[in-house]
């Protein structure tokens, strides 16, 4: 194995770091710290312990480490943290990266292969990073007859739409980027953007195979949006709300999949079609139309579309969890934060450290996130599994499935929901 993989030596790595440390410190002190000061000067600072956090105070953690946690607390309360890090983009991208790794390894095990092996010391865990670096370093080739502004914009728009979708997903009680009352309607609106972006990208490439792929994607997404929306109406009826946080909270006793299994199945199938995953990967059917609407995309443009695809995958799985599997609800498994640390501080031999700002996260939030992630990973696993089992289906079979069978089943699901509602078993807000 070590013949192919280059030898990694820690001492050489540290040496190279030390070689660069002078320049790192110089650049940080000349550019980094002033830049941080500028940013802190212009954004609105929060109030901590009754005093306004000024840029100067924000940097005092360098002298007083005990100030770190209050500042982190203050930062966590800002919108930018929610959008960029926790319930938003960073968290979703991390799960998406994990999804890609699991997909590769799982598919490899299914097909009696090894999968990524060399990149990174453990089981090719850095393969995705290597692929990303490769895509960034590749030249972007634009077809000569392409409609360039739209062609450039489409991958960016795709990621933006996927990120907007992620922003609507509640991860834990109170932890959601955009807590809107019409959240589910917002989800439908965002889903409606994807076919438009796809057909714009395909058409602007001015090439035959992307065009056919784009038309296929348009057919597929538009015809599966109807059963998608219809299959979720049952949940909306039983909950009496379109707010995703309220829908998740209403399932504290039973997840809706217990009462609406048909709706869950229909939603799962439409989800596979919306995500263009096997067996519904017609827009990218390689033996017919090369790579479908992605044929002319090269370099990081392709990488962006892949990023958007996996963000979308996470968002759909998370939506399934929120609507049918009870979102963050689950037995309390996270132990409470030890109270003596809050009152007495941490005793380290002779020194007793009193750390203000603890605990960083509440017990409910950690527990909710844990259950949410576990359920989402489970759903993602079932989304990935058909790839190793099924061949691709044909467009006429797909449209037949969407327009006749799934819509019929979605109506059956609505009638079940109405029956439960009128029989008085279940009503808005959960179990009566």
């Amino acid at each position: 194995m070590s013949v192919i993989a280059p030898k990694f030596k820690l001492s050489e790595f540290i040496k190279s770091l030390l070689d660069n440390v002078f320049w790192t410190v110089l650049i940080l002190s000349l550019i980094g710290i002033p830049a941080v000061m500028m940013v802190l000067f212009f954004i609105e600072m929060p109030v901590i312990n009754g005093e306004l956090l000024t840029p100067f105070l924000a940097l005092t953690w360098i002298a007083d480490p005990s100030r770190i946690l209050p500042i982190v607390h203050a930062f966590m309360a800002t919108d930018i943290f929610r959008v960029m890090v926790f319930p938003g983009f960073g968290f979703a991208a991390l799960l998406a990266a994990g999804t890609i790794f699991v997909e590769r390894k799982m598919l490899a095990k299914l097909q009696l292969r090894v999968g990524p092996f060399y990149c990174g010391k453990i089981e090719g865990i850095l393969q995705l990073m290597g692929d990303g670096l490769k895509l960034i370093s590749k030249e972007i080739i634009i077809p000569a007859k392409a409609d360039k502004p739209i062609f450039w914009a489409a991958p960016v728009l795709f990621v933006a739409a996927a990120a907007a979708f992620v922003a609507l997903i509640p991860v834990a009680p109170g932890w959601v980027v955009a807590d809107v009352d019409l959240g589910l309607l917002g989800v439908f609106a965002v889903i409606g953007f994807f076919p438009i972006i796809t057909i714009l990208s395909a058409w602007s490439a001015n090439s035959k195979f992307p065009f056919i792929g784009g038309i296929r994607a348009l057919f597929q997404m538009v015809s599966f949006e109807i059963p998608l929306i219809l299959s979720l109406l049952g949940v909306v009826m039983l909950t009496g709300s379109l707010n995703l946080s309220e829908i998740a909270a209403s399932q504290s006793n039973f997840p809706w999949i217990v009462f609406l299994p048909i709706g869950a199945i229909v939603f799962f199938i439409t989800m596979l079609a919306e995500l263009e995953r096997i067996p519904f990967d017609l827009p990218e059917a390689e033996s017919e139309i090369v790579a479908g609407w992605l044929t002319e995309l090269s370099g990081m443009m392709y990488g962006l579309v892949q990023l958007g695809t996996y963000l979308k995958l996470y968002a759909f799985a998370a939506l399934f969890v929120v609507l049918f599997l009870g979102g963050w609800n689950g037995p309390m498994v996270v132990p409470p934060f030890p109270a003596e640390i809050l009152t007495e501080g941490i005793v380290l031999g002779p020194v007793t450290a009193n750390i203000p700002g603890l605990p960083l996260f509440t017990q409910e939030m950690l527990n909710g996130t844990l259950w949410f992630v576990l359920k989402t990973v489970g759903v993602i696993f079932f989304i990935l599994l058909p790839r190793g089992v099924f061949p691709r289906i044909r467009i006429d079979m797909l449209l037949n499935l969407g327009w006749t069978k799934l819509i019929g089943l979605a109506f059956v699901n609505i009638f079940i929901a109405l029956g439960l509602l009128y029989a008085g078993v279940l009503g808005p807000g959960g179990l009566q």
Partner: protein, 378 residues
């Protein structure tokens, strides 16, 4: 006067609805050839296969090499099926030169050619799987193929291009203990390919996609001159191993698999059934083979054909009838050598089958014809 341009270059007046797609030669779904497809929406109105991208002039090259040095390059058209490609040539040269083949060598040839048929069919099946978007069916046959490749390596010394058949027998005797190893590997291989039916041939989506698509009727199959699995999938009981037995096939119990449907599904299932049959043949041959004896009648250096003479021999290869026509004028080289291959004869059916089909059926219909582009071009 209009000049006749090759297809694809000619300017045609077509309906604005009709789009011409060049599938290949650089396309994941074409192989080393081009299929010019005209589509109206999702329906194929016309299809024009355009082979010839890997023409290597094997037949012309054979005229400049003697009967022995022709062996390594004549197997190149289908390197996965190299024993079967060499088989008719070797049979023909034996008749031209006039030598007898030892009994044991005939059995070794049958075993090698059946192993090669399986190796080829596994490769074909792997590509059929990936053409339908079934990546597991790409990896499994490609992996299980190694079992038989290892056997061929033990037998001939080379993994793919064996050059094992020579006029007068086979190049080397079997290694010691080969019979036991071969029986064990073949039994395991048979058990393994029986599992494919669960994941592939009984898969409801596969059946829905390939049943009743690209139907080739019995009459059309005969009229178009198709051979091999394509012919047998259309209900014609025709197998050269049974109809014109060569070497020791008449002493073995060969069962021919025939299906009546003539659709893509039947065409894709017949090679799989043939592989199971090959396992039976190998087991029979291992049982009946003389346990010792010569495997090669030595030829004189630079053998010459007898006078002005011609011979035509054909065998059942993985893709159907494979014939070799050799004309000798008494020299050490053949005067003319012609390979008549199954791939090219099956390809003729493609425009008939694809007309009116959906674009999504193109890969499954195309590859179910058991077509190997390199062999067709020779």
């Amino acid at each position: 006067m209009t000049e006749q341009l090759p297809p694809g270059l000619a300017l045609q007046k077509v309906d604005e609805r009709i789009m011409t797609l060049n599938v290949g030669p650089q396309h994941p779904g074409s192989g080393h050839m081009r299929i010019i497809v005209q589509i109206d929406g999702d329906y194929i109105v016309a299809c024009d296969p355009d082979p010839g991208y890997v023409h290597r002039g094997e037949e012309k090259m054979a005229e400049y090499r003697n009967y022995i040095t022709n062996i390594p390059h004549l197997e190149r058209p289908v390197i996965h099926d190299s024993c079967n490609v060499l088989y008719p040539y070797v049979l023909g040269v034996e008749e031209l030169v006039g030598i007898e083949v030892p009994e044991r060598a005939k059995y070794v040839r049958v075993i090698a050619s059946e192993l090669n048929r399986c190796i080829y069919t596994m490769y074909w099946l792997a590509i059929y799987g990936i053409f339908l978007g079934h990546s597991t069916m790409f990896m499994w046959p490609a992996g299980d193929r190694e079992l038989l490749i290892d056997l061929m390596e033990k037998m001939s010394g080379a993994r793919v291009t064996h050059a094992h058949f020579v006029p007068g027998g086979v190049r080397n005797d079997l290694p010691p203990n080969f019979e036991d190893v071969c029986l064990r590997q073949v039994n395991y291989f048979e058990k393994r390919i029986k599992e494919y039916s669960a994941v592939f041939y009984d898969n409801p989506i596969l059946i829905a996609r390939t049943k009743d698509t690209g139907i080739l009727s019995r009459e059309d199959a005969i009229r178009l001159g198709t051979t091999g699995s394509v012919l047998r999938a259309s209900g014609v009981d025709y197998d050269l191993r049974k109809k014109e037995p060569y070497d020791v096939y008449e002493e073995l119990d060969v069962h021919t698999n025939v299906m009546k449907e003539g659709d893509s599904y039947a065409r894709s299932k017949i090679p799989w059934l043939d592989m199971l049959e090959s396992c039976n043949i190998i087991r029979q041959a291992l049982q009946k083979m003389p346990k010792s004896g010569s495997v090669r009648t030595k030829l004189k250096p630079n053998p010459k054909g007898k006078g002005l003479n011609s011979v035509y021999k054909r065998v059942e290869s993985g893709r159907g009838s494979l014939g070799c026509y050799i004309v000798s004028d008494g020299k050490t080289e053949p005067y003319r050598l012609k390979l008549s291959v199954g791939s090219f004869r099956n390809l003729i059916a493609l425009p008939y089958l694809l007309k009116g089909e959906k674009l999504g059926n193109m890969p499954s219909v195309y590859w179910s014809l058991n077509y190997w582009p390199v062999e067709a071009d020779r």
